[in-house]
Symmetry: C2
Subunit: 208 residues, 2 copies
């Protein structure tokens, strides 16, 4: 129990808290009323920080939880033992395509990397024409764009012509400006601090 | 087929590509060799942008894919129809706790919010002492800290005393500096652009 002479102060504090939260609620409610449109979103998750692909996979879980159908295309296959692939390929309502061969500095062959990316994009094109796919993840797509394996104009045109309610999430560092311009939501994951810089290796369940 | 006189240029381009990727590979390989430590990480995902909670749920999927055990504590319960809850509560190896009552501007009662948060933290404390939990998500924990419902010193002390290999992911806007200081990895999700600002409502499978 607080001493008796603090009761007024506590009551005052509780009242200020209530007023502050009432104002906050009014602001939030008004914003929610204003946001009344629905559409298939194009989301770009970029930047150097941790959380781009994992955020995309969190949206996969959300969508599956609502009974939606999901397509995933991974353009860079850094390793073959990822938890996300092991987990999601066991689930219903999801198709999972590994379209890349590894980081480009592993192949070191431009013609081969281009050919792999182009073959991958034709798989994506099929999903971008399929209205039964509610959410499509294009994981690490920014790298094929950055290295010139895919034409940004063709990618943008295919994205624009997709089904009206299909959501697409694109991840990877250094997303091109034209891609960000076409997106509904763009988040930059900024690396404030990263365990890797402190000599800690990629951790199972966190980084892959 | 390119015209014959472009062959030398193409060969030159391919060679420069190969050299660039060889240098990149050397840098990446050296960094991987340096990063040889393993530990339970503390990750903080903060900022105003989209992707904090979804990234945490992506790590849940990764961890489950590796057969790890996961605990989730949600401190703010904005709505009762989330895809992540519907999806993950159907999976094995996961415990899911909803510890909040909704956004604080809905209750507008400081004493009640404090009591709810303190009761929630005692549930978290049990998981922070349980070495069989490999990954623990404390979703939207920054709000109880920001509003003073929980003591940051107690929270930090409990985090520091957790099992050595347990990973903890904390999400929410405005993470306190002391929490970021204690973390191994901190990402700021920066809102470059958000569909909500263009009048688009929260989308099923993307935002919840």
């Amino acid at each position: 129990m607080p001493p008796a002479d603090s009761t007024d102060m506590d009551a005052d504090k509780a009242q200020r808290y209530r007023s502050r939260m009432q104002r906050q609620k009014a602001v939030v409610d008004a914003a929610i009323v204003r946001a009344d449109k629905s559409k298939g979103l194009l989301l770009v998750l970029t930047g150097n920080g941790k959380g781009k692909s994992s955020s995309a996979f969190g949206m996969v879980a959300r969508a599956l939880g609502h009974g939606m159908r999901v397509g995933v295309a991974q353009f860079i296959k850094g390793r073959s033992d990822t938890g996300e692939e092991a987990f999601f390929t066991q689930q219903k309502n999801i198709v999972w395509h590994v379209l890349g061969e590894g980081f480009t500095w592993d192949t070191q062959d431009l013609a081969r990397d281009r050919e792999t990316a182009r073959r991958g994009w034709s798989v994506v094109q099929t999903m971008l024409r399929d209205p039964s796919i509610d959410l499509l993840i294009l994981d690490e797509l920014t790298y094929p764009l950055k290295f010139g394996w895919l034409e940004i104009s063709e990618v943008l045109s295919d994205l624009q012509n997709r089904p009206a309610m299909q959501h697409v999430v694109i991840t990877g560092r250094a997303a091109p400006d034209t891609l960000c311009g076409a997106a509904d939501t763009v988040t930059e994951m900024r690396d404030i601090k990263h365990a890797f810089q402190a000599g800690i290796q990629a951790q199972t369940g966190i980084d892959f």
